[in-house]
C-alpha cells in the first residue's frame, strides 16, 4: 500500500501546472538534443543545470530527467532519416531504420520507435516504482565497505563494456579518480592539487568537464571530418502508424528490449548505449530470418529503441536508492540534487518524498507527452536537420561557453572546459573514451570516503571488504570481470562495437 500512497502523492506533485510545464520543457528540449547530432543529453543537461537554480528542486529534477529520456526518443528520428545517430544510444537504429527509410518505410520505422519507446519507457517506470522503495530499504543496511565495493564493481562494469581496449578504459577510470580528488579533501579539509588556482579550490566542476569532453571535443571532431551532405528522407505526414504485420513482428522485440534495457540500465556503467547494442544482437540471434537484419527489419528498430528507453528508466534506480550515478547523465542529476540541497540515496525517499515520488510519476507523464509530441513534430525535426553544420556549430560552442560560465559566473570554469575539450579531442584521436573518466571523477570522492571510513572501521585491515558477504560478492564479481577478458578476449563486445558505424556520446 505504501507504494500506492507514494504514487498518489507523486501524481499530486507532478500534476501541478508548474511541474507539468517543466516536464514539457524537459522532454521537448530532450527530443531536440536527441535529434541534433553532436549534442547529447549529458552536455545539454549540464548546460541547462544553472537555469534551474531558481526553480524548486522537484521542478528542476523533473525537467532535467525529461531531457534524458526525451533524448532517447529524439535520437531515433535522426538515425532513421539521415543515417547519423542523433545520439549514441541510437547508433544501431541506423542499420535497419535507415534501410527502412530507403525503402520508403520511414513512417512505420519512426512510428514503431515512438511506440516502442513509449511502451518500454512506461514499463521501466512501473518496475522502477515497485523496485526502488524496497531497494532503498536494502541500501539502508549498506555501510562504507559495501558502498566502496559496489563502486569498484560499477567502474569495472563500465570498463568491461568499453569500445576500445579495457586497459585504456581502466586508465581513464584511474585518471578520473585523480581528477575527482582535486579540491578540498572532505575528511582532513586540506587542499589537494590546486596549485594556488582559485577555480580549482572547489574541485573540477562537473559541468565544464562534461561540456569539454562531450561538447567541445565533438564539435572539433565534426569540423575536422567535414560533415558531408546527407540525404534526408521526406516523411509523409500520414503513414506513421505501423501496420498489423509490423506490430506482430515488433511486439516481442519491444518486450525483450524493455526487460534487457531495464536491467542493463540499472547496472552502474552499462547504460542505454550498451542496452541498444545487446538488444540488437539478441533480436538477430532469436530471429528465424537473421539475414533480413541490416536490410530494413522492423525488429531491428523496435528492440534497440525499446531497450535504450528502458535503460533510461533503469538508470534512475542506483541514483534514487544508493546515490550512485550509473552514467554521465545521472552524475549531473546527482550534482543537481545536491545543489538543490538534497542528499541522493537511501534516505531520499524519507527525507524528500515529494522529490522521490515526483520524479518517478513525472516519468509516466513525460513518456505520454513524448508519444503525443513526437509523431506530429517529426516533419519539423526533419526540417531542422537540413540546417547546415557550418551554421549550427558556432551556436553549439556558444551554448557551451555560456553554460560553463554561468554555473559559478567564473571564467576559470570556462578555461577548465577548454582544457577538457582539447584533452577530449586528443583522447578520441588516441582511442580513449571519456565516459569512464567522468564517472570515476564523480564517484571518486565518494569512493575515497568509503574506503577511508572502512579502513578506520577495520583498524587498517583490507579484509573488511571480503568478510562482509554483500561486499565480498561485489568484489568477487568485479574480479571476475577483470579476469574474464584474459581468457575470452572480449570477442562478443568487440564484435558488437565493430558491426556498427562509429559515433560517440
Amino acid at each position: 500500500m505504501e507504494i500506492f500512497q507514494g504514487l498518489l502523492y507523486g501524481f499530486q506533485v507532478a500534476l501541478q501546472p508548474i511541474n507539468l510545464f517543466y516536464c514539457f520543457v524537459g522532454v521537448f528540449i530532450g527530443t531536440l538534443v536527441g535529434v541534433l547530432p553532436g549534442l547529447g543529453p549529458a552536455a545539454a543537461i549540464a548546460l541547462l543545470l544553472p537555469s534551474t537554480f531558481a526553480a524548486s528542486p522537484v521542478s528542476a529534477i523533473i525537467m532535467l530527467a525529461g531531457i534524458y529520456y526525451g533524448a532517447m526518443y529524439g535520437g531515433s528520428t535522426t538515425s532513421i532519416l539521415v543515417n547519423i545517430p542523433g545520439e549514441a544510444a541510437s547508433v544501431v537504429t541506423c542499420l535497419d531504420g535507415h534501410a527502412m527509410a530507403r525503402q520508403g518505410r520511414a513512417g512505420p520505422a519512426l512510428g514503431i520507435s515512438a511506440f516502442g519507446s513509449f511502451i518500454a519507457g512506461t514499463l521501466s517506470v512501473v518496475v522502477l516504482t515497485f523496485l526502488a522503495p524496497s531497494l532503498a530499504k536494502v541500501a539502508l543496511s549498506f555501510g562504507p565497505p559495501e558502498y566502496f565495493s559496489l563502486m569498484v564493481l560499477g567502474l569495472t562494469i563500465l570498463t568491461y563494456f568499453a569500445r576500445e581496449s579495457m586497459v585504456k578504459a581502466l586508465m581513464m577510470a584511474a585518471a578520473g579518480l585523480l581528477c575527482g580528488s582535486v579540491g578540498v579533501d572532505s575528511i582532513s579539509g586540506r587542499y589537494r592539487f590546486t596549485f594556488g588556482i582559485q577555480t580549482l579550490m572547489d574541485g573540477l566542476g562537473l559541468v565544464p568537464v562534461i561540456m569539454g569532453l562531450f561538447g567541445i571535443s565533438e564539435v572539433l571532431l565534426n569540423l575536422e571530418q567535414g560533415k558531408e551532405k546527407q540525404e534526408i528522407f521526406a516523411t509523409p505526414a500520414k503513414g506513421l502508424f505501423p501496420s498489423r504485420a509490423d506490430w506482430r513482428l515488433s511486439t516481442m522485440p519491444i518486450l525483450r528490449g524493455s526487460v534487457l534495457g531495464f536491467f542493463l540500465g540499472v547496472l552502474p556503467g552499462a547504460g542505454a548505449i550498451i542496452a541498444s547494442f545487446v538488444a540488437y544482437a539478441v533480436e538477430k540471434r532469436v530471429s528465424k530470418y537473421p539475414e533480413r537484419f541490416g536490410t530494413g527489419a522492423i525488429e531491428g528498430v523496435a528492440g534497440p529503441e525499446a531497450a535504450n528507453n528502458a535503460a533510461a528508466g533503469g538508470a534512475f534506480i542506483p541514483l534514487l536508492t544508493l546515490g550512485i550515478p550509473a552514467n554521465a547523465v545521472m552524475a549531473i542529476l546527482l550534482g543537481a540534487l545536491m545543489i538543490h540541497g538534497l542528499q541522493p540515496g537511501a534516505l531520499l525517499m524519507k527525507q524528500a518524498p515529494d522529490v522521490f515520488w515526483g520524479i518517478i510519476t513525472s516519468m509516466y507523464i513525460g513518456n505520454a507527452m513524448l508519444l503525443v509530441l513526437n509523431l506530429p513534430l517529426i516533419p519539423m525535426w526533419a526540417r531542422l536537420l537540413k540546417v547546415p553544420y557550418a551554421i549550427m556549430f558556432p551556436f553549439i560552442l556558444l551554448f557551451c561557453l555560456i553554460g560553463s560560465y554561468s554555473v559559478t559566473n567564473n571564467v576559470g570554469d570556462g578555461i577548465v572546459m577548454w582544457v577538457f575539450g582539447v584533452l577530449g579531442y586528443l583522447m578520441k584521436k588516441f582511442d580513449y573514451e571519456g565516459a569512464p573518466l567522468i564517472l570515476a571523477m564523480v564517484i571518486g570522492p565518494m569512493m575515497e570516503e568509503a574506503l577511508r571510513q572502512s579502513l578506520i572501521l577495520s583498524a587498517g585491515s583490507f579484509a573488511i571488504f571480503l568478510s562482509r558477504p554483500i561486499s565480498a560478492g561485489f568484489i568477487l564479481a568485479a574480479a571476475l570481470l577483470l579476469l574474464l577478458p584474459l581468457i575470452t578476449r572480449r570477442k562478443e563486445v568487440a564484435k558488437a562495437w565493430t558491426s556498427v558505424p562509429q559515433e560517440s556520446e
Binding site: 544553472p50 537555469s51 531558481a54 581496449s165 586497459v167 585504456k168 581502466l170 586508465m171 584511474a174 585518471a175 579518480l177 585523480l178 580528488s181 579533501d185 575528511i187 582532513s188 586540506r190 589537494r192 592539487f193 567541445i216 564539435v219 572539433l220 571532431l221 569540423l223 575536422e224 547546415p388 553544420y389 557550418a390 551554421i391 556549430f393 558556432p394 551556436f395 560552442l397 556558444l398 561557453l401 555560456i402 560560465y405 554561468s406 559566473n409 571564467v411 570556462g414 578555461i415 577548454w418 575539450g421 582539447v422 579531442y425 584521436k429 588516441f430 582511442d431 580513449y432 571518486g444 569512493m447 575515497e448 574506503l451 577511508r452 579502513l455 578506520i456 583498524a459 587498517g460 585491515s461
Partner: protein, 146 residues
C-alpha cells in the same frame, strides 16, 4: 612512435607527477588512519602500472603516429577563438564578444559577409535575451553596458 606509445608516456608522466605530489605534499597517513594523499597516491600508482602495460604492448605494434587533424589550421583557429572568447569576455562584455565570436566562426565555414554579420548579431542579441533577461544568468557587461 605509435599512438599507444605516445599516449602511454603521457599518462605515465601524469601518474608519476600525481603520485609524487601525493607522497610529498600531502600525507599518506597510516592504514588505520589514511591521510589526504592516500587515495590519490594509489590511484596514481594504478594509472602508472596500466600505462606501463599499454607501453609494453605498444612496443610490439609497428603502427606509425599520424595526426592529420592536428595540422588543420581550422581546428587551431576554433580552439583559439574559444580561448580568446573566455579571456576577453569580462573586458568586452557578453554581447560584443559573442557577436565577434559568432561572426568569425560563421565566416570560417559558411561564406557570405552579410549573412554572417546578420546571423551573428541576431544570435548575440537572442542569447542575451534568453540567458540574461529570461533565465537571469549573470553575464558580464562591457564598456557599452551590455
Amino acid at each position: 612512435m605509435s599512438r599507444d606509445l605516445t599516449s602511454a608516456l603521457f599518462w605515465l608522466a601524469f601518474a608519476i607527477f600525481f603520485s609524487i605530489e601525493s607522497l610529498t605534499q600531502l600525507k599518506l597517513g597510516t592504514l588505520h588512519q589514511p591521510g589526504p594523499g592516500f587515495f590519490p597516491f594509489w590511484a596514481g600508482v594504478v594509472l602508472g602500472l596500466l600505462s606501463l602495460i599499454l607501453l609494453l604492448n605498444s612496443l610490439r605494434n609497428q603502427e606509425r603516429l599520424s595526426l592529420s587533424g592536428l595540422k588543420s589550421w581550422k581546428l587551431l583557429l576554433v580552439a583559439g577563438a574559444l580561448l580568446a572568447y573566455l579571456l576577453l569576455l569580462e573586458t568586452l562584455g557578453f554581447v560584443t564578444i559573442t557577436f565577434l565570436f559568432l561572426f568569425l566562426l560563421l565566416r570560417l565555414e559558411y561564406k557570405g559577409w552579410v549573412f554572417s554579420a546578420v546571423s551573428a548579431l541576431l544570435g548575440a542579441l537572442a542569447s542575451y535575451a534568453i540567458f540574461q533577461l529570461w533565465l537571469k544568468t549573470q553575464l558580464p557587461t562591457g564598456p557599452f553596458g551590455i
